[in-house]
């Protein structure tokens, strides 16, 4: 429970942090709630920690799009009214589902996303919301569509010398609403499955839907078959099963594959149903 030795430096600007990442043994630290536990178990042993905690990357700007600075805490996200107003309730609900109060206060959305933990809550909301991950690198800033960002367990499209600077959420059409549902591992609190659904309802029909799923497999994914079936008017419970059947899913001696496959479909279905109910002005 004692990390291996490391050097520590505080970044003075985004450019400074990016420059410091030229050292392949360096790692960026923000809230530290993903990295430090791994360091304590010596599963991660960076030579240098670049602390970006003091950089001006914190805050939520609500305009044509909602731009969330990467240092924004899960707690701030969970409490921001902008998401519900835009029909992006799922984003705030993902943040509220993270860990406990201490973790939500210290952990950041940028750190969580950059870490690429396939069992974290955040990716589901980002995928459903069709977010873009804004990253800063030596050549300046670029944006990566969420569908291309998560590549595997602890593996993202983030370059070696890049850091996440913001998450950009486009606002969905009028008549949209979303919801996040999850079943937590009673030990870790991480989702065994988490599903976020964003729907647009017009004239009593679902006219658009995006579904993001996390916790089930090595990469958070978009449930495209369920989306298509939902648009075609299939019963939600049937649609929810489509993307899980062929999917490689996690399984262990506590929560086996068959069980996880089953609850994944249940949770996807519940997320879609709740999102539709919200869009129709029904209950939460």
């Amino acid at each position: 429970m004692i990390p291996a030795q490391f050097a520590y430096r505080r970044a003075t600007s985004v450019a400074d942090a990016v420059a410091a990442l030229a050292d392949p043994d360096a790692k960026v630290i923000a809230g530290g709630h993903s990295l430090v536990p791994m360091m304590k178990l010596r599963l991660a042993r960076p030579g240098t920690l670049i602390d970006i905690g003091g950089l001006p990357l914190r805050g939520i700007a609500d305009g044509a799009e909602i731009v969330v600075g990467s240092l924004t805490s899960h707690a701030d996200l969970a409490q921001a009214a902008a998401f519900a107003a835009a029909g992006l309730q799922a984003v705030a609900e993902c943040a509220a589902a993270v860990g406990d109060v201490q973790v939500r206060n210290a952990g950041t959305i940028g750190g969580s996303v950059a870490h690429g933990d396939p069992a974290s809550d955040a990716p589901a909301g980002l995928i459903a919301a069709d977010a873009r991950i804004r990253v800063a690198g030596a050549a300046g800033e670029r944006e990566i569509a969420v569908d291309a960002f998560f590549q595997g367990p602890f593996w993202t499209a983030l370059g070696e010398q890049e850091l996440v600077s913001a998450i950009v959420f486009p606002k969905p059409a009028a008549g949209s609403a979303s919801a996040y549902e999850s079943i937590e591992d009673p030990a870790s609190g991480y989702p065994l499955v988490g599903a976020a659904a964003l729907v647009t309802v017009a004239g009593g029909r679902v006219t658009a839907v995006r579904i993001g799923v996390t916790g089930v497999s090595g990469t958070p994914f978009r449930a495209t078959n369920a989306e298509a079936a939902t648009l075609a008017g299939a019963p939600v419970a049937d649609a929810a099963r489509l993307d899980i059947t062929g999917q490689d899913v996690f399984g262990d001696t506590r929560f086996d594959e068959e069980y996880r496959r089953h609850i994944a479909a249940v949770v996807i279905g519940r997320a879609v149903e709740r999102a539709i109910a919200r869009a129709q002005g029904g209950s939460q």
């Binding site: 429970m1 178990l41 079943i183 009673p186 030990a187 001696t253 506590r254 069980y259 609850i263 249940v266």
Partner: protein, 760 residues
Amino acid sequence: MSIVGTDRPRIDADDKLRGATRYLGDLKPHGLLHGRLVLAMDAHATINRVIKDAALAIPGVVAVLTAEDLPTAMEGPMRQFEPLARGEIVFQGQPVALVLAETEAAAEDGVEAVIVETTSHAAVLDLEAAIKPDSPLARIRQIGGEMEGSAAMHVEAAGEGEGAPAPAAAAAEPVSANAKGPHRQQHGDATAALAGSEAVVKGTFRTSWVHQTYMEPQGALAIPEVDGSVTIHSSTQGAFYVRGMVAKLYGVDVSTVRVVGAPLGGAFGGKFNLIDPLVMGAALAVGRPVKLQLTRSEDFASGMPASACILELELGGTKATGLTAFRSRILLDQGAYGDWAMDGAVPVMIGGPYRWSAWDSLSYGVTTNRFGTGAYRGPGGPQVVFALEQLVDELANKLGVDPLELRLKSAAVEGDTGVDGDPWAPVAGREVIERTMQHPLYKKRGSLPANEGIGVAAGVWMGARFPSAATCRVDQDGGITVVTGAVDMSGTNTSFAAIAADTFGVPIESVRISYADTATAPHAPPSGGSGVTYSVGQSIRLAVEDAKEQLLDFASDQMDVAASDLEVVDGMVRPVGSPDRGKSVAHFAEQVTGFVATAPPIEGRGRFAPGNPSPSVACHVAHVRIDPATGEVETLDYAVIQDVGKALNPGLVRGQLQGGAVQSIGWALYEELQHDEYGQLLTGSFMQYAVPRADRVPNVDVDYIEVPSAIGPFGAKGIAEAAVMAGTGAMANAVAAAVGSRIRELPMTSPRVWRAANSR
């Protein structure tokens, strides 16, 4: 004014709230070396070589010790006698080497650099396979010597009498050397009695390994003194116990070991001499103070949790008279070390708080390559209750009687023959069950929405009967100081203070409870077995009475009033009927402690051996809701009804009983230490090992009754362990009621409940 029976905060609460309590982790003597463990990677292997060079080259690393470096004087088949693996690794996570360094970080670096070369052997993990005559052995080199002290202590507390030797016929089942036993209890003709019963039910049940998960991990500090003695500061429940065991291991006189119990950050039975033997040996080897406090992961990997078992049970009953007979066969995993294994006790415990006409009850302790067995609150209880109380419910259902009615008809009373052959001590099973029948939560069970269920179960804990002693002196200021060597566990000192205040007749503020170490304290038993208040509390009452008598004798001379006509009320010694003629206790205390005093100081002595137990019976009532789509179980409400004899401090009693409910929910729904097929621990942290967190614990209503003990102080009974003796049964019966079918394996996780609910 009576203090006993009133709610009072714990006397250590203020220090704990302010962070002022100095736990083991806060102690940093001059010259301290920090220890960190090299843990075995294999579950079963022979150690060929331990390569220390690279570790020793790390700046700050002072020594790397293996078993040969410890100056042990004996060996025995107990973990306590094998602080580091001796040639053979018998479980993954077993300490193989100890790295000592000037800083914890250097010690941790050293651990990474130690290389342990091994030859692997088959890991023995499956209980049924392990006892087959052709099974590989979990321990290739069998170590001679008997279990001592430890296991016997709890076996006795759980109620086994003289330990009836197994009849020759019982040995008919051929078994491997992994099996210890059979331990067998037999009475009457169980087969005929079952055949003659109106209904018979049976089943096979499996339980899991469960960790005590105390907040403060295990640890100890050993300081070699200039005179060759060693002082050990330990997070232990039993200082005298530690002293005896380490002195034996290292072949030294007990007078050369002084053990100081550090404030406990939780123990639950798990803290007995796990780290002490190692730090003592290390301190002797290097001549410097050595401290080792496990990290959470190390505690999961190398601690001594409660063990799993397989229980086959068959029982019968009749509508008119209740339970008749039972037959059981229990395989109790004892892991690689059976220090605290309950294999001798479970054949008795499986009989519960009931009267039977015939039984045939046997068990085997099975050595495997998993941990070693530690004690955990009511050892053996949650396991046997899970089987017995489910079957009692099934039997009630089959007979068409109310589950509590069946239990009431069958409850043992004083003088009934117990499963160990001894007559039952006075026991209030009937009273507790009758009270439970009136509880609103139980009465609600007939009118529940779909997917909800209410379950009930009963259990009993006999309680330890450790002898103890204590002293009480009257201080210069008229206060009294009670000296005890019992480690304060779950508020026992707070109860001692109330006992002393009421017995002497001084305000509670004038009572000091002084914990003393093994060099200076009157002998005290370990704080365990639900025996502390029961025995030490009574020693303290006797010591205080003795001191009071001495004071009254002296005051009698001074006041010219017969001692029998004097009383002490609120710190004043006064003639009965003439309160205005009273003089303060301080007034007399000055005269026996000052420079010019001519009378001897007042020092009372109390010694006590309870002799007989005062069993405590508890019923638990659990209310759950299941989600049939996901198998998730939510505990909605809970009630504990228990006979406590006398609640010395009702607040602490409620806390104890609520804690028992919470741990029962943990056993029932969440907790399981799992290994893979190679014996690798899969649940080595709180990321994989689930405990009932606050958000998963319902309201727990405590409704205790007081049927006084003739033995314990003020009628008190040992209550801590009875509080977990019904929980797994109540939860299982609640889940069964909600699901509509039974789960016979602990814990009842969501996948298991989902499968039961959907018959998969």
